[in-house]
């Protein structure tokens, strides 16, 4: 991949600052972050607790507003957008996978998956729906409610929900944090495939080197800044870098 042929980034962040509290109690969660997320890539954001990785993701996903700096998703700058436009952006161009699954308990798996479309008032594309369902391997569980499914199954439903509206970019916040390793591997495998086979762009926040080993690129955060980056990582190389970061 040559520098000149670099496509427009799916999302980019310039000089992003996010502070909480005021005066003495001020906490700089992000302290001048620059980052480009390339389309069709699986990017991991890693860092120790308090490094600002969740805040970065919230800002990129239009869930939180930066104190200063710019966030651009799909060529649109978020800072200029009003709540209504942000809502539409989240609805049509961004997908989410949460650590706690966050499925609506009263809806079946199928209804949860189709929720973003039904919020947007769009009809699902049946072929795409089938493709996504097949990819997550949930075809036989569509009629079940979340409390009738295992954690891994619930998270796969959540993944399907994130993909079904064909977003420009999917943000995954510790998607394996609540799962045992076998279920975690299933979910990560699915995310990997959706990048390889479906061309999806994914940004995943994690502190698990094994999870990061599934990605194309790992960005390391510490004290609110990007401090390192790793291409084509493996669980072992990520673990080394992490150890290095924490003992720095």
């Amino acid at each position: 991949m040559s520098q000149t042929a670099e496509p427009t980034p799916a999302a980019s962040v310039r000089d992003l600052v996010r502070t909480y509290g005021t005066a003495d109690a001020e906490v700089r969660a992000l302290d001048g972050v620059d980052l480009d997320v390339r389309a069709g890539e699986f990017t991991a954001v890693m860092g120790p607790s308090g490094s600002g990785k969740s805040t970065l993701m919230h800002c990129m996903a239009a869930l939180d507003a930066p104190t200063s700096g710019t966030v651009t998703v799909g060529g649109q700058e978020l800072g200029r957008m009003r709540d209504k436009e942000l809502t539409v952006l989240r609805r049509d161009r961004i997908g989410f996978v949460f650590q706690a699954f966050n499925l609506v308990p009263t809806l079946t798996a199928r209804e949860n998956i189709l929720l973003p479309l039904s919020i947007a008032g769009r009809r699902p594309d049946d072929a795409w729906f089938e493709t996504v369902i097949a990819a997550v391997g949930l075809a036989d569980r569509l009629g079940h409610r979340p409390n009738e499914m295992s954690g891994g199954q619930q998270q796969r439903v959540a993944c399907a929900r994130a993909l079904v509206s064909r977003p420009d970019i999917v943000f995954a916040d510790e998607p394996t944090g609540n799962l045992d390793s076998a279920s975690g591997a299933e979910v990560l495998g699915f995310l990997r495939r959706s990048v390889d086979e479906l061309g999806q762009t994914i940004v995943m926040v994690t502190h698990d080197p094994v999870a990061a080993g599934y990605t194309d690129r790992v960005v390391f955060l510490a004290d609110g800044r990007v401090v390192d980056e790793l291409r084509s990582p493996t669980a072992a190389s990520v673990a080394d870098r992490m150890t290095a970061l924490q003992t720095r």
């Binding site: 539409v88 949460f98 308990p105 929720l115 919020i119």
Partner: protein, 852 residues
């Protein structure tokens, strides 16, 4: 999105059912009011249709009220001569003409000696005629036996005969207000009325000559003529033809016109009843609104994470708001439907209640007009959605990022903004109260809105007002119940808005009950004071519903040993020019000796050309001592010039003009008495005299004898009965308030599942846990009681002050009763906690701690 709404509804059906119940009760009241009054209307429509002929010839001034009101024989009936009937009957347009004699003042004594009907629907007496009504069927048909043909024969309507316990062939005792107080007649038949039900009216049918003897002094004349048109002749044409023959002062009214007039009068009375019932429906709905606001607030709070998720997935604020409102819509729709059905039950209950007062509507099925359903649904759905609007808006303000967090706090309106709105509302309410009590505009509506505004202001400010009340509760709880008390107290004040909103529902009911208690108690105290002072003489003989009675009663009583003197008074609907002047006519010397009006100016009248007025009446008519007025004893009578010689302070018994009975001589007004005051001789035991007089009038069941004590008691009883009715209706508001507390507690327990588990894990026993929930409930109830009784004291005092110059001059606050309300609030609190406490105690400790 619709799916989410729908599933959420299903998942929380019990919760929503509870808040829906508030709507159910409110709507039931509204619908029941309409169904009931529509049923009465239909019943009377039947009576009107069944009784009105094609054309009625009647005195032009004949007010319809005479047919419906209990004002018997006060004026002189203007009569139609018998030959006129023949003349009308001879017209080519006329098929037949029948002279009618009708009147009030005849009462049926039941077989067991008691009076039939009494204070309820009237007894109507008329001559038998098989003349058809405008529909072509006879108004009256014989059901059993035959019609009365000569004196000494009588027929009753089937239902009355049955109720009175008479069969054809029995001897019926009738009481008259005329010169002969008691009449015996043989029941020769029973009759049926073409209009179906009679709403409890008793029909007494006699032959024409007897009717003329009873009501028209035996003259061969009629009070009206029923005219039936020849085939093909319309009502208007018939009325014109008949009109040409009539002497001046009479008119030929078409059946349609007469029916419309009567229905108008009935409609006015029914409007009042409808309004009265709707007021309570409105109160129930206002209280219900609080319950719904609270339920939806809590549901939204519990779902805030889910709502944040929807926002994160791209739902707009509007979509979130709409989804909550859609839930409200469904709750409102279901509540209205059940409410409408319950309304039927309520109307049936009201029908039973009114039947016990003598207004019997059994034969008319309950009426559901489309308007009732439209109003029920509109009100139910609208109230629910309005109540859910604020929580729905709050739901939409959940930040999407909250979906990622564990603890989610909903943004709340600032206390300052609430306080500003509360103060503004309180000022508005006070203004409306002052304006309405000052007599401006539609006083009832203005005062009602004022009260509502003040109550809403207090409800808004309740989180602030609650602090001192809860502080006291907390101190008591800590001392009496120890740690459990402290926990309960802290739970109650943890969410001051929720606690305050729950208490507010109870506050409204208690506030109104307190207000009514103060008014009732003040009215009673005032009555007691004035009645004791004003009671004329030592004994009073009167009729409970103002029906005059024969003068022979006074004559008989005067003969009773121990009676020093009697003053017999006859009420007449006098006229001064265009104005009405109700007056009492009697022997002027007797009045002065027994009743002794309290003259503030001038002196008592001594001759037939003199009149005394009460001060209010004089002011209203613009008269003073020395004025000369043209006074007529009844409308249509020739007036006489009389001098105003004195002004007296009006009292319960004495009001209006006082004139000599001689003024009525030759006026044609039959001599009757409306009340008789008795002065006991020196040293005579009034109690004993009371019993002696009662024995003398025992055969005239229409009159009652009362001494000062009994009279006061009777007056109080009427107020107490009215109060009881109002309390019963306000009870509905209290039921809804209890539901509100149950709801809040149940939701709080669910919300605090983890905390409850923790408390249990560290050793709180099930009993202590139940006690904790119970104490929290009682704290809420006590807060409601404090706010309600506080505002009620304010309202009651203000209302009493505003009517102080209208006879309610004593402010009496029933402290004991208010104390009872506080106790009742504690009981309410304990009862409301039963289910939520049981639920909390049943939680499995481990699972409770584990749950998120």
């Amino acid at each position: 999105m619709r799916t989410v709404t729908w599933r959420t509804l299903l998942a929380r059906k019990v919760r929503l059912l509870l808040s829906g119940l508030a709507i159910v009760l409110g709507v039931a009241f509204v619908a029941g009011s309409f169904i009931f009054t529509d049923t009465i209307q239909r019943s009377f429509d039947g009576i009107v249709d069944g009784s009105v002929p094609d054309v009625t010839v009647r005195a032009a001034s004949d007010p319809v009220e005479r047919r419906g009101g209990p004002v018997p024989l006060a004026g002189v009936p203007q009569t139609l001569d018998a030959p006129l009937v023949e003349q009308i009957a001879a017209l080519p347009q006329v098929e037949r003409a029948d002279g009618t004699v009708d009147g009030f003042g005849l009462f049926v004594v039941r077989a067991d000696g008691r009076l039939l009907g009494g204070a309820g629907a009237p007894t109507l007496t008329f001559n038998f005629s098989d003349a058809p009504n405008a529909l072509g069927e006879p108004s009256i048909s014989v059901a059993e036996g035959r019609e009365p043909r000569t004196g000494g024969e009588v027929a009753l309507d089937v239902r009355s005969a049955e109720q009175a316990g008479y069969a054809v062939g029995d001897t019926v005792t009738l009481l008259s207000t005329g010169p002969v107080p008691q009449i015996e007649a043989t029941l020769v038949g029973t009759v049926q009325f073409a209009g179906g039900g009679l709403a409890g009216v008793t029909l007494v049918v006699v032959d024409t000559a007897t009717a003329q003897d009873l009501f028209l002094g035996g003259e061969p004349v009629f009070t009206s003529i029923s005219v039936t048109g020849a085939p093909g002749v319309g009502q208007a044409e018939l009325a014109r033809a008949v009109g040409t023959l009539l002497p001046s002062g009479f008119e030929a009214a078409t059946g349609d016109d007469v029916a419309a007039e009567i229905q108008g009068v009935i409609g006015t009375a029914l409007d009042f009843l409808t309004t009265f019932l709707l007021v309570f429906g409105a109160i129930a709905l206002v209280v219900g609104t609080f319950l719904i606001v609270n339920t939806f607030s809590i549901l939204v709070a519990q779902r805030s994470r889910e709502l944040a998720l929807l926002r994160a997935l791209g739902a707009s604020r509007g979509q979130v708001t709409r989804s909550v409102l859609a839930e409200a819509f469904v709750v409102g729709l279901l509540g209205s439907t059940v409410g409408l059905l319950l309304g039927f039950a309520l109307a049936a209950g009201l029908r039973l209640l009114f039947a016990s007062f003598g207004l019997d509507l059994d034969s008319t099925p309950l009426v559901l007009r489309p308007r009732t359903a439209v109003v029920a649904y509109t009100v139910g759905v609208l109230v629910t959605m309005v109540a859910a609007y604020a929580p729905a808006r709050r739901a939409s303000r959940v930040p999407p990022v909250a979906a990622m967090r564990d603890e989610v706090a909903l943004p709340e309106t600032s206390v300052r903004r609430r306080t500003v709105v509360a103060v503004a509302l309180a000022l508005l309410g006070s203004g409306l109260l002052a304006w309405g009590l000052g007599g401006a505009g539609n006083a009832v509506l203005t005062v009602g809105l004022g009260v509502l505004a003040v109550l809403l202001a207090v409800a808004l400010a309740a989180p602030v007002l609650a602090r001192p009340v809860l502080a006291i509760t907390g101190r008591v709880y800590a001392r009496v119940f120890g740690a459990v008390g402290v926990l309960a107290w802290q739970n109650a004040r943890r969410q001051p808005r929720r606690t305050a909103a729950t208490a507010s529902a109870l506050m409204i009911g208690l506030s109104l009950v307190t207000t009514m208690s103060i008014i009732g108690s003040s009215v009673n105290a005032s009555i007691e004071r004035t009645v004791r002072a004003d009671f004329p003489g030592d004994l009073v003989i009167s009729n409970a519903v103002g029906i005059p009675f024969s003068t022979s009663v006074a004559d008989d009583v005067a003969q009773v040993p121990g009676v020093e003197r009697v003053a017999a008074l006859q009420a007449v609907s006098g006229r001064v020019g265009e104005d009405g002047l109700p007056a009492l006519a009697g022997d002027l010397d007797d009045i002065e000796a027994v009743v002794a009006p309290d003259y503030v100016e001038g002196r008592a009248p001594r001759t037939v050309r003199e009149v005394a007025l009460d001060t209010d009446e004089a002011e209203e008519l613009g008269l003073e001592v020395g004025s000369t007025v043209d006074f007529a004893a009844a409308e249509g009578l020739e007036s006489v010039e009389v001098d105003v010689v004195g002004l007296y302070e009006p009292s319960q018994a004495l009001q209006g003009g006082i004139v000599s009975r001689d003024l009525l001589d030759g006026s044609g007004i039959p001599a009757q008495d409306s009340f008789v005051a008795v002065r006991a001789g020196e040293g005579v035991d009034v109690r004993a005299l009371d019993r002696a007089v009662e024995r003398v009038v025992a055969d005239v069941p229409t009159v009652t004898v009362q001494d000062r004590e009994e009279f006061t008691e009777g007056q109080r009883e009427r107020i107490d009965q009215l109060l009881l009715l109002i309390y019963a209706l306000l009870g509905l508001a209290l039921v809804i308030a209890i539901l509100g507390i149950v709801n809040t507690l149940a939701l709080s327990v669910v919300e605090r599942t983890r905390e409850v588990g923790l408390l249990r894990a560290i050793g709180l026993s099930r009993r202590q846990l139940r006690q904790m929930v119970r104490l929290e409930s009682v704290a809420i109830a006590l807060l409601g009681a404090a706010l309600g009784i506080g505002t009620g004291l304010g309202f009651g005092t203000v209302l009493q002050r505003s009517v102080a110059d209208q006879g309610v001059e004593v402010l009496s606050i029933p402290w004991a009763r208010l104390g009872l309300y506080v106790l009742a609030a504690v009981v309410v609190g304990v009862l409301a906690a039963v289910l939520p406490a049981r639920r909390a105690a049943r939680l499995d400790v481990l699972r409770a701690i584990g749950s998120a």
